[in-house]
Amino acid sequence: MTASTQQFTTTSGEASQAGDVVLDVKDLSIAFPTEEGLVRAVSDLTYQARLGRTLAIVGESGSGKSVSSMAVLGLHNPKRTQITGSIKLDGNELVGASQATFQKLRSTTAAMVFQDPQSSLHPFHKVGRQIAEAYRTHHKVSKAVAHKRAVEMLDLVGIPTPARRALQYPHEFSGGMRQRAMIALGLVNDPKLLIADEPTTALDVTVQAQILDLVNDMQKEFGSAVILITHDLAVVAETADDILVMYAGRGVEKGDAKEVLARPSHPYTYGLLQSIPSATDDGTGDLKAIRGAPPSLLNLPTGCSFHPRCDFQPLVGAACIETLPEWRPTPGLTNRQLRCHLEDPVATLQNDEGAK
């Protein structure tokens, strides 16, 4: 496989079998005009999600993971958001699409499990009703049928005594249960794409693993595409097929998830990996956080946004500060793309690793 196969796009209509591109994002930029100035949350983002595969989007807090994903469901206030580029969801162009278009596609074609299960369910509505509402919106069925479907979904996501649970309110659920209910809600209309936005951050460790397993199982069951947003690289290693690394609203590296983690080719990905304990660590290796802090989105650094924090910038010189690196295949690797000026990034990073 070459990098160009990754760029392959379904030209029109519906994605129907594993590997088909269901979401095709191109040069997506999202900015919020605020009193302090224009917040450029996402810049020139390009990626694809395919049926039957899990794409992990990783990056530090504020790198634009949630903002870019919410645009897929049209959840930004159009009056307060500037969106350019293209988002093609199952053949439908969504940038500039009407609310009616979004209403039709939400939940049926793409659904989202939000970051915080504590606050994402309506506190005054019964859990079953919240799921049934999503079903009834897109299917002409009676309340009773929709309720039955909601109970089935709760059962499917592993909630015990689902019939009883469906009649309870969210505050009667534990955090993990709520997240299961959110996943049930996300899948009730059998969407082609499920976006799970840090589905486990608010949960304790044992529950985290269960939720991830559930997401994986559900993907197999429904054959949908999954976008898993996370900053936990261990989660990526276990669950994702593909990975997109984001920095300050831009994609910086993408490829096969396990390969990227095993052999990062972008200094930022490398830095992220250095900052977490790895399974092979004997505990003596130093953990090294990336120096500095993410840049202000009001005033992004020129050239490569990562340059003020990059240890390898001196190897390249002025180009990093002056010119924004374009996507290119990583030299020496197949099925990998990155945005960095380093001539031979893989070797450079490996030398650095060896020097430690």
Partner: protein
């Protein structure tokens, strides 16, 4: 739940009791002299005044008077007027010094007028206030929002009695757009027609605060994660706003609504006075001018009971709105 209600009821009773004692002390031990207002000094000499005081029972120690009053509330009491004994059944609020009618009569015959006015106003201010509030919240930051909120602030900032006076003067007296108040005995049609003017101005002015409560509460809930979840289900925007946004925003509004209705039921002094609605507010005002202690006590007690009951209704009602309150 039952213990909760019992505890609340106990609390309610003690509030009423405290109000009773306080008003009694303030009015009966205060500087007012009902004898003087019944018969000014230039007409009555000192003995005559003293005789009136004895007649009213005002010469006896305060504690005795209080015990009598308190007893009257629960078991009734007997009054002696010019050698004749009149029984006043529980809850006995006594007799007006001025009209000689029983306070219960004075208040309960007028209470329905106050209730009609209060409820008509409440219908107007909830519908108008909440609708405009939702609209402003949805359009927040836009020119529409600024006009609605600015307008309601200006309207709300003008002293109410001036607005009410102008409204009465033009709409009722000069232009005769709306009819004057007339008693129910003159026919239900003219009675309710006469209530339109006072209810309208009272409702519209009160609606300005509801516009602001609703707008703020809606803006807060519309930024909640669960509203985003609702939208992500593909339901219509109207459903998102009403079934999800407004549903959650109603909590604080219902609380204030209950207390406001209670306040209106205790009598709208200015409105009733200006539009000559024969309600308990206007009667209370008259009693204050007259130093008519039993009527004053009666209206204050009645107000306390209404407020306390509505507090209870609001709390219990709230637990039906918010399931998290219901179970804990």
């Amino acid at each position: 739940m039952l213990t909760y209600i019992l505890r609340r009821a106990g609390l309610a009773l003690s509030v009423i009791l405290a109000t009773l004692v306080t008003t009694f002390v303030v009015f009966f031990a205060g500087p007012s002299d009902p004898a003087q207002s019944l018969c000014p000094e230039n007409r009555c000499n000192a003995e005559r005044l003293q005789a009136i005081r004895v007649n009213l029972g005002l010469d006896r120690p305060l504690t005795v008077q209080f015990v009598e009053y308190f007893k009257g509330l629960f078991v009734g009491r007997d009054f002696e007027f010019a050698g004749e004994t009149t029984h006043c059944g529980a809850p006995c609020l006594g007799f007006s010094y001025h009209t000689g009618r029983s306070v219960n009569d004075e208040l309960f015959t007028r209470f329905p007028n106050t209730v009609v006015l209060a409820l008509m106003a409440a219908v107007i201010f909830t519908i108008v206030g909440i609708t405009i509030g939702i609209f402003a919240a949805v359009k927040r930051g836009s020119a529409t929002d600024r006009i609605l909120i600015g307008g309601s602030q200006v309207f709300g900032a003008i002293p109410y009695y001036i607005l009410a006076l102008l409204f009465a003067l033009y709409m009722v007296t000069f232009w005769r757009v709306l009819p004057q108040y007339s008693a129910f005995s003159e026919g239900a049609g003219v009675y309710f027609a006469g209530m339109i003017a006072p209810a309208l101005i009272l409702g519209l002015v009160t609606s300005t605060s509801y516009t602001r409560y609703t707008r703020n509460s809606m803006i807060e809930t519309l930024s909640m994660d669960y509203v985003r979840t609702a939208r992500s289900k593909g339901i219509s925007e109207r459903r998102v706003l009403v079934n999800h946004g407004l549903r959650a925003a109603m909590g604080p509004i219902v609380t204030i609504l209950g207390l406001d209705i209670a306040a209106l039921l205790t009598g709208t002094l200015i409105t009733e006075k200006i539009f000559e609605v024969d309600g308990i507010g206007r009667r209370a005002l008259q009693a204050l001018f007259d130093d008519d202690l039993p009527v004053i006590m009666g209206t204050v007690l009645m107000a306390a009971v209404i407020v306390v009951i509505f507090n209870l209704i609001v709390d219990i009602g709230y637990s039906f709105i918010d399931p998290r309150v219901r179970l804990s």
